[in-house]
Structures are given as structure tokens and as C-alpha cells.
């Protein structure tokens, strides 16, 4: 049981970090970023390239991934989403645009980085083994702690920095924030860049654990959507809660239900449908949108 809980916490920390970026973008712009998974994959490949091809230390490579995705996110927001949001009256336009960006990034990633699974050497060797009750490789412990530290840092930035307060104001009420002098365009771009950066950094962190390949983008986006639906779209604490809930459900389901075949995700989706039927705005989402 202890192993199941530890696995769940580790998975939850990763997932929460992935979900944070997605929910931030949604809260600021009301855009479901279907390309979020592809940004995660791109970040992973940037880290892989920096470490394996240029012998750059892993943590520097992570910073490079973050900066690269921040720039990509800013450019996507400024030149693609902003004009579409301003001109189009339909929400579907941004959804289609996001999906198209996802396909585009998939093709770019295939061209630049190829089709193979890639990985980098473990950042820490060795396995923590507590009497065979808890077995956890040290590199996962380090990555898990980094993920938690990043979540805390993100929360502090959102609460105490000027940019964070501006973004929260925009998320609460865009019109009121504009009237109070918040530069909508500037902070939406910063928010999108921050969301993309988070996706890229997670991809970079996990390339040392799970590796990276082109096919990971779509499933990562799907899991991110599940998390924010559980926690409440556009609500940052909800994304964190959703991440940890999904992580624990996966860990428990895979261990306890394994003898019945692969029904863990069947049960997760069934539970999600029932949950959303009862509480469509998620755990912490606002019923009025």
C-alpha cells in the first residue's frame, strides 16, 4: 500500500505541473490549448538535444527548454491567437486553431528531431528501498521534489508578483481588470508564455525518467484535460488537485485492478462522467463560468 501511495504522489506531482500550464492559459484567454501536449514533447526534445548533442548539463538544458517554449508560446499567442480572438465571434475558432497548432508542432517535431524514442542518462543513480515496502529510484524523488518546488514557486508568483496579480485579475474579470489599467494583451502573452514554459519544463524534467517521443503529445493533452475537468477549468488550485487525484487513481487502479486487465482508465473515465454529471464545473470551478 505504501508503494501505491508513493507512486500516486509522484505521478500526481508530474501531472499537476502539466495541468497548471493548461489551466493558466484557459483562465486568461478562455482557450483550450490542444497543443499543450505537443509543447511538452517539444520541451523534452529540446532538453534531449541540449544534453545529448551539445553536452550541456541537464539543469541548464531545462532552463533552455523553458525559455524556448516561453518564446514559442509568446509568438503563438501574439501572432495566432490574438488576431483570431479579436476577429472571431465564435469560441470554436480558437479550439480549431489550437488543434491545428498541435498538428503543426507534431510535424515540426518529426522534421527536427525524428521519429525515435529519445532519453538522457539518469540524473541520479540508485534506488531508495525501505524494506521492499517503498521502492523509489532517487532520480524520481529528485524530479518529484523539483516538480513540487515549481508548483509552490508558481503559486507564489501568481499571488505576490505584479504579473501574477495582473493575470489573476484578468482571469477573474477581464473587463474590470482592463478598466483598472491592466494591459490585457501584454499579460495574456505573458500568461501563454508561462503556460507553454511550464509544459516545456515538465517535458524536459521527464525526459530523464520516461524518455520522449513524438507520439506522447496527444495522450498528454488528454490527461491534462482530465485533470482540469476534475479540478475545475481555469482554477489553479483545481489543476493541482486534479493532477494529484488522477495520479492516485492511476496508481491505485493499476496496482489493485491489474488482474482484471486494463480497466483502470475505463473506470477513471466512467467515474469522471458520473462526477461531471453531478458537478460539471469540477471540484473548484465556478458554476457561473
Amino acid at each position: 500500500m505504501e508503494q501505491i501511495v508513493v507512486n500516486g504522489l509522484y505521478l500526481g506531482a508530474q501531472y499537476a505541473l502539466i495541468a497548471l500550464g493548461l489551466t493558466l492559459i484557459f483562465s486568461l484567454m478562455n482557450v483550450m490549448n490542444f497543443a499543450h501536449g505537443q509543447m511538452y514533447v517539444l520541451g523534452g526534445f529540446v532538453t534531449y538535444t541540449a544534453v545529448s548533442q551539445f553536452d550541456i548539463p541537464f539543469f541548464i538544458a531545462l532552463i533552455i527548454s523553458g525559455l524556448t517554449l516561453a518564446i514559442v508560446g509568446a509568438l503563438i499567442e501574439k501572432f495566432l491567437f490574438r488576431p483570431v480572438i479579436k476577429k472571431s465571434k465564435r469560441d470554436e475558432s480558437t479550439m480549431l486553431l489550437a488543434a491545428g497548432i498541435g498538428f503543426f508542432l507534431d510535424s515540426i517535431i518529426l522534421l527536427l528531431f525524428g521519429e525515435k524514442q529519445r532519453g538522457v542518462p539518469k540524473i541520479v543513480d540508485g534506488v531508495f528501498n525501505w524494506d521492499f515496502k517503498i521502492i523509489m529510484p532517487y532520480d524520481r524523488i529528485v524530479i518529484g521534489l523539483i516538480a513540487i518546488a515549481m508548483i509552490i514557486t508558481f503559486m507564489l508568483i501568481m499571488h505576490y508578483s505584479k504579473a501574477g496579480r495582473a493575470m489573476r485579475a484578468l482571469a477573474q474579470d477581464k473587463v474590470a481588470a482592463t478598466l483598472m489599467g491592466v494591459d490585457v494583451d501584454r499579460y495574456q502573452m505573458i500568461g501563454f508564455a508561462l503556460g507553454a514554459m511550464l509544459a516545456g519544463v515538465v517535458g524536459g524534467l521527464l525526459v530523464s525518467i520516461t524518455g520522449i517521443n513524438l507520439g506522447m503529445g496527444g495522450p498528454t493533452s488528454t490527461k491534462a484535460f482530465i485533470m482540469i475537468m476534475i479540478g475545475g477549468a481555469g482554477v489553479i488550485p483545481g489543476a493541482i488537485a486534479g493532477g494529484f487525484i488522477l495520479g492516485m487513481m492511476e496508481s491505485v487502479g493499476l496496482s489493485v485492478l491489474s488482474e482484471y486487465g486494463d480497466i483502470t482508465y475505463l473506470l477513471i473515465f466512467a467515474s469522471l462522467m458520473i462526477f461531471l454529471a453531478i458537478r460539471p464545473h469540477g471540484l473548484m470551478g465556478k458554476p457561473w463560468g
Partner: protein, 395 residues
């Protein structure tokens, strides 16, 4: 006046250039050979190794002047289609091949794709060379599919038997992705293990194809303490992560699979933890490889920057197609002729030393010759490379 003269000179030069290039390409007619398979996503290495093997070999043949079939010399043109491991797309790819007048197609790479294209291939007169194992594709009444490699129900028993005799394994566990190809490989692996007298301690654990963290998946399997953990139908992307998770959970037994893997991917994903991992290798080893095989590897590496060991197997499909067409030129546009020729076809194997032959096999497994004869090479991974464990032939 000067402008008009220089314009006319340019026009003339352009026309001469077009005429020359037109003449050059008109010298050899083109023989199109198709490829429909997965070249993107986690299993991309399987399809890309096919496509690149075919393109490397085709370029080489064209450079040497083309291939002569029935007195006509052809340039080979590889027409490729990425089916993304989606049966619907595989069908679309096969229909595209039919529209382009292609009668010989390599692929698809997986069971459901190969099954989906069967009606199209049989209706449109296409022989296809899948890398999928279900016997129904190759046994009568099926007629148009030819298995391009050794099947897991042929390699599995050979591997398990070898490990029983040499490593004294008694208990075996299976884990598979929740997809038709891996599940059917698992089922036939379980059947083979039981018929050899092995104790199957776990065979129900499966995982989603897009799983990235395998620790929760493998935890219940490792608890059953197998001597051998079989990763049924595992893709090259997932293999290193499964191996790594198993080893990090403290598993010290053997790990094997009956699919082809990539040493570079194993090295990056699992490093030393992958040492001892057993897989089915490319149909070549340093001892078996001829100068032609070595030249092929060099050309492939020069063209694409890195080699994939799987291409040692994947190079054969195009060779078999061309040699069979040489043996019966009428088969160029009539697959019925091709099928008749297969029963008695034999030609020197350019990729192996000695007097090895290209021939079609499969009477034992399928009741008819619907399989390329390629060596069964079983490898073990060690420090970034595959080392040969043993070599066998199958029927």
C-alpha cells in the same frame, strides 16, 4: 536588340536542358514499389526502417543502372504512405497504391492494419508484405499477403526453449500493451510457454499504449517473481521504459521480447539496465553478413546518419519482390503469376555469406508458402550493442 538576343539564348539553353533531362529520364521506365506502414508515433522505428531500407536499396540499384526484368531495365521508385498505425489510414494507403498502379506493397507493420488492407489488396491485385503475425493473413483462403519476418509464434518457442536449456527458467510472466498486436502476441506466447512446460505466473497485466510511467504497471507482475519477463509485442519506444522500471523495482531475472528493437533507443532510455535484454534481431550478424550487406549498411548510414538494426530484416522484402519478378516477368502486372512463381522460387541470397538462398517458406505454419525466409537471429543487448545469442531457421 541585345536583350532580345540574350533572351533567345536563355530560352534555347533552357529547351536543350529540358530535352536532355527528358531524354535521360525516358531511358528507364519506372517500376513503382509501394510501402504502407507506420512512420510516426511510438512505433515509428518499425515503419521508418522499412521505408529507409527500400529507399537505400532502390537508390543503389538505380545508381547501378536499374533492374532488368524480362529484357526491360527499370528504375525503382518507392511510393510511401504513413498509415500512423491506424487501419483506416492503411486502407487509404493501399487504395492510393492501387490508384498509382502499384502491384507490390511492403507493409503494414501491425495486425489490424494488415487485416484491414486484405480486401483491398485481394480486389485490386496487390501482393503485400506485412510485418504482422496472425496466421489468418497467410493461411488459405488468404492469398495476397507474404510475411516479411519471423513471427513471434516461431521465435517465441525457440527463445523459451533456449532459455530453459541454458538459463534454467521455470516461471514466466507476460505483459502487453492493450492493443490487438501485442495482445495476440501475448496469447500465442502464453500458449507456447505452457506447451513447453513453463509455469505462467502472470499474463493478465496490460498497459495503455500511451503509458509513460510503467512502475505502477509492473509492480504486480514483479511480485509474482518470474524467472523470465516477456514484453509481448513491445514497441521500441516502450521497451527501455519497461526494462528500466522492472530493474528499478528490483527485478533481477531475464527480460525478453519477440519484436525487433533499436540498440540506440535502449541505450538512451535504459542504459546499463538494459544489459541482458533479449530480442529478435535483424536478420544479419557479423558472421552471416556478406559484402553486399555491409555495403547496404554503409549506404543506409551515409544517407540517413544512423543505422537501425531492424533494417537487416527489412532489406529483404524489396529484394524478394525484384528477384521474383526477374524469375517471372509476367508477374510485373499479374500477381497470380507471382503467386505461382513463389512455390518454386529460389535465388542466391545477396546478404548472407555462403550459398544461402532466397526462398519462400511457411508450409508448416500456414499450409502454403507465404513467408520470406530470413534467418531468425536472437540477440542480447550489451553495453550499447546487440550481441548474437543464437541463429535459427523457421518454416
Amino acid at each position: 536588340m541585345k536583350k532580345s538576343r540574350s533572351f533567345k539564348a536563355c530560352l534555347l539553353a533552357g529547351m536543350v536542358g529540358l530535352a536532355i533531362s527528358g531524354t535521360a529520364s525516358a531511358e528507364n521506365p519506372t517500376l513503382k514499389i509501394g510501402f504502407v506502414g507506420v512512420t510516426s508515433g511510438p512505433a515509428a522505428a518499425w515503419g521508418i526502417s522499412n521505408q529507409r531500407s527500400m529507399e537505400t536499396r532502390a537508390d543503389w540499384i538505380n545508381e547501378m543502372g536499374g533492374v532488368t526484368i524480362g529484357g526491360t531495365t527499370y528504375d525503382i521508385d518507392i511510393v510511401a504512405f504513413d498509415d500512423q498505425k491506424d487501419p483506416k489510414r492503411a486502407v487509404a494507403g493501399m487504395e492510393k497504391m492501387a490508384q498509382e498502379g502499384v502491384h507490390y506493397v511492403v507493409g503494414p507493420n501491425v495486425d489490424d492494419g494488415a487485416a484491414a488492407v486484405r480486401p483491398v489488396a485481394e480486389q485490386k491485385g496487390i501482393m503485400y508484405f506485412p510485418y504482422a503475425f496472425p496466421k489468418s493473413l497467410y493461411a488459405k483462403p488468404a492469398s495476397n499477403a507474404v510475411l516479411g519476418m519471423v513471427a513471434n509464434y516461431q521465435s517465441g518457442p525457440a527463445i523459451y526453449k533456449y532459455l530453459m536449456e541454458n538459463e534454467d527458467i521455470k516461471n514466466v510472466a507476460f505483459v502487453a500493451a492493450n492493443e490487438s498486436d501485442p495482445l495476440s502476441q501475448r496469447d500465442s506466447g502464453v500458449e507456447a510457454a505452457k506447451s513447453l512446460g513453463l509455469n505462467v505466473v502472470s499474463s493478465n497485466v496490460t498497459y495503455q499504449v500511451d503509458t509513460t510511467d510503467f512502475t505502477p504497471v509492473l509492480l504486480p507482475v514483479i511480485k509474482t517473481r518470474p524467472d523470465l519477463l516477456v514484453l509481448s509485442g513491445v514497441s521500441p519506444a516502450n521497451a527501455p521504459q519497461l526494462i528500466r522500471s522492472a530493474r528499478e523495482l528490483g527485478y533481477t531475472g531475464l527480460i525478453s521480447t519477440e519484436t525487433a528493437q533499436d540498440a540506440a533507443v535502449l541505450k538512451e532510455g535504459a542504459g546499463d539496465l538494459a544489459n541482458g535484454f533479449i530480442s529478435v534481431g535483424g536478420a544479419s550478424t557479423p558472421k552471416l553478413a556478406s559484402d553486399t550487406m555491409r555495403e547496404f549498411v554503409k549506404r543506409y548510414t551515409d544517407k540517413y546518419g544512423e543505422y537501425n538494426d531492424e533494417s537487416n530484416t527489412k532489406v529483404y522484402a524489396l529484394e524478394y519482390i525484384l528477384e521474383t519478378l526477374k524469375a517471372n516477368p509476367e508477374a510485373i502486372s499479374d500477381v497470380g503469376e507471382f503467386q505461382q512463381t513463389m512455390d518454386t522460387f529460389e535465388a542466391p541470397n545477396p546478404y548472407m555469406v555462403g550459398d544461402a538462398k532466397l526462398k519462400y517458406v511457411g508450409n508448416s505454419s500456414f499450409g502454403q508458402k507465404r513467408q520470406l525466409s530470413v534467418p531468425l537471429v536472437v540477440n542480447t543487448y550489451s553495453d550499447g550493442e546487440f550481441k548474437t545469442l543464437f541463429v535459427a531457421q523457421v518454416d
